[in-house]
């Protein structure tokens, strides 16, 4: 019998075009390259300068997401530099023969939302994108990771990447989640445990009863934030939940091809004897609804707790970073999180903008009103999510409750479009990064789940749905 291997090692080994020797990286084949307007213009320029073509336009898909406005999308983009960037993507994709889903197209959306929903993301694949949240696709048992613009150019030209073989890390979440605790809380708790650098150089495999019981969308939320723990990628073994999500999607195999794909996918999970470089275990029963209090995603706490004081950290670097974070966030250690008022609530981003996220939030919003003075944005992840939500009447529930229902895109997740926080404005956000200025210069971001975001919008201060009863 051959060496026992982990899921990620199996996928990696299948994609080696040329093995590196002497500590060098392997040349890996890329099955799917997702492209968006922000990290690609300089890469296409590079191709033009050196007279190269896109090697496999048929394995490349582009969309417009980071810059696009979420209102008045029938008008030209008002911000000239944004408009130029979006137009540049359109020019580049048409010149190089790459499919692009433009603003307003039914299949347009956040790059990590449209891949899975079209069935482009399948188990066993290698997927890259000039975007660090590419690990989202790992939920299907694929190796998916973010790359820089030079690497985007390299993949466009060669459909391969030179990559050092990463280490492996098993994160097991056992037990059962309490009511009101979601996939977002699970991943925030994991990052709180391993820190922003804990996963550097490694691919995380998420496992255990809690992970198995998550839906595909929940699994995407978990894998999405792997990068926030520093990991190269994050993935989950494909199982019947994965297969039933995929069956019948536009790009999924059919007939005999579906059967051979299934046979193959069932062989992917880590061999029982395979060893990981590192093991981390969390008890799912202990995880509470989470809120970030600081300026990196490892600075998280339970919603029902009090904001930590810098003195509560033993490590001097952590103490220093907590003090700086509290100052930036305008918070005083010791304050109960539930007493902190918000100005804005953002429901969206590649972490939490799928249909189940919107249903969770709409459930909380139904029959209630947003607290006065709170600005709320609900931004579906894609044209298809928007359509589905509208067919279920979720848009009506949101607007009746006073939430603003928008067009798909990245929006306030990174504030490259007009959806921004003002200096010192505080937001409860379902996105993935609470870095200084991430949602607008001087803005203060607290990461939460869609249910907590919606409850916070209603209460005006951080709240769980149960607090509204």
């Amino acid at each position: 019998m051959s060496e026992p291997k982990t899921l990620s090692e199996k996928i990696w080994d299948r994609h080696v075009v040329s093995a590196g020797t002497d500590g060098e990286g392997d040349l890996l084949y890329v099955d799917l390259h997702l492209v968006h307007e922000v990290t690609s213009p300089q890469a296409f320029d590079g191709l033009r300068i050196s007279g190269r073509k896109v090697r496999r336009p048929d394995l490349t898909v582009a969309t417009e997401d980071h810059n696009v406005p979420t209102a008045d999308i029938d008008k030209p983009i008002a911000d000239e530099i944004s408009r130029l960037q979006v137009e540049t993507l359109r020019r580049n994709t048409s010149e190089f023969g790459v499919v692009n889903y433009p603003m307003g197209h039914a299949k347009q959306g956040i790059v990590h939302v449209i891949g899975p929903e079209q069935g482009l993301t399948q188990p066993g694949m290698t997927i890259v994108c000039g975007d660090s949240h590419t690990a989202t696709h790992g939920a299907f048992g694929a190796i998916a990771f973010g790359i820089g613009t030079s690497e985007v150019e390299h993949v466009l030209a060669t459909q391969t990447l030179l990559q050092a073989r990463p280490g492996t890390m098993a994160i097991t979440v056992d037990g059962e989640l309490a009511d009101g605790v979601t996939a977002k809380d699970v991943i925030l708790a994991i990052i709180g445990r391993i820190g922003t650098g804990g996963g550097i150089g490694k691919i995380i495999e998420y496992r255990g009863e809690v992970i198995r019981s998550l839906t595909m969308e929940g699994r995407m939320t978990v894998c999405n934030m792997s990068i926030e723990g520093g990991a190269k990628a994050g993935l989950i073994a494909p199982d019947d939940t994965t297969f039933s999500y995929l069956e019948g999607r536009e790009k999924s195999p059919v007939g005999a091809a579906w059967e051979s794909a299934l046979d193959d996918w069932r062989r992917l999970p880590s061999d029982p004897e395979a060893a990981f470089d590192e093991y981390v275990t969390l008890d799912g029963n202990e995880i509470a609804a989470q809120v970030s209090w600081g300026t990196n995603p490892a600075q998280v706490m339970p919603l029902h707790g009090a904001i930590p004081t810098p003195d509560s950290f033993d490590d001097p670097a952590a103490r220093d970073s907590a003090a700086r974070a509290l100052q930036y966030m305008g918070l005083v250690g010791g304050t109960p999180m539930r007493e902190v008022p918000v100005d804005t609530v953002f429901i969206g981003s590649c972490t939490n903008s799928r249909i189940e996220d919107l249903r969770d939030a709409a459930n909380v919003a139904a029959g209630r009103r947003v607290a006065s003075g709170v600005r709320t944005l609900v931004v579906p992840g894609s044209g298809q999510v928007k359509e589905q939500a509208e067919s279920e009447g979720l848009d009506k529930i949101f607007t009746a409750a006073g939430f603003d229902w928008r067009e798909p895109g990245c929006s306030m997740c990174l504030a490259m479009n007009p959806d921004k926080l003002q200096p010192a404005e505080r937001a409860a956000s379902t996105s993935n990064r609470n870095f200084e200025g991430r949602q607008g210069r001087g803005g203060r971001t607290h990461l939460v789940s869609p249910a907590v975001a919606a409850a916070t919008a209603i209460a005006g201060t951080f709240a769980s749905p149960a607090d509204l009863e």
Binding site: G25, I147, G148, S150, Q159, A164, A415, M416, G437, R441
Partner: protein
């Protein structure tokens, strides 16, 4: 990319951990479609603070950035490397770099120098005390030397990456030498893998 063998000069001490790429270059700067002109965006929000180390005269000539642990976390934006480089830095020293940032460095000739936490702390202290302290990073011998205070260490770089630094090689050109293997691989891919 241009070849890099030796980087000699003085350092700027950025004594913070977890510096993410949103801080290195805020997202407003990402709308540009060019590859140059990012130096003004480097740490642009932190630069509003007059005391921020980048605004301190005594470090104005520095060409080496010494930073805390977990440098370059977060977004994959290569603009972060372009900004650091275009501002005038040729190397960054940290106990740990985020993966994508580190890869991006190697594609642009910005030397990522990973050192132990102890070495980093000693160097940080020394540079805070003496802004004119001369540091030499040797990409051929993979060493960092600070002769004035007798500090010296080695740093890791995979041999192929080191070769690309030393010779200023173009990655795509190198990969093209494997074209036969790429073509052979393509004939063996399972047919069900989707296309656009």
């Amino acid at each position: 990319m241009k070849a890099v063998r030796i980087v000699t000069g003085t350092a700027l001490p950025l004594d913070r951990a977890d510096v993410d790429t949103d801080q290195i270059i805020p997202s407003d700067w990402l709308k540009r479609v060019e590859r140059t002109g990012f130096e003004k965006g480097l740490f642009s929000e932190w630069r509003d603070d007059r005391d921020f180390v980048l605004n301190q005269e005594q470090y104005a000539a520095a060409n080496i950035l010494v930073a805390g642990i977990n440098f370059g976390t977060g977004s994959s934006r290569e603009h972060a490397v372009w900004a650091i480089q275009q501002y005038g830095f040729e190397a960054v020293i940290s106990p740990r770099f985020a993966d994508i940032f580190r890869n991006n460095c190697t594609k642009n000739g910005l030397v990522p120098v990973t050192v132990s936490a102890e070495f980093n702390a000693a160097l940080m202290r020394a540079v805070l005390e003496d802004p004119d302290l001369e540091i030499t990073i040797d990409v051929e011998r993979l060493t960092v030397e600070v002769p004035a205070i007798g500090l010296e260490t080695s740093f890791p770089l995979a041999s192929g990456t080191q070769q690309r630094f030393l010779e200023g090689l173009d990655d795509i050109g190198l990969t093209m030498r494997h074209l036969d293997e790429i073509e052979a691989y393509e004939t063996k891919r399972p047919a069900w893998i989707p296309t656009s």
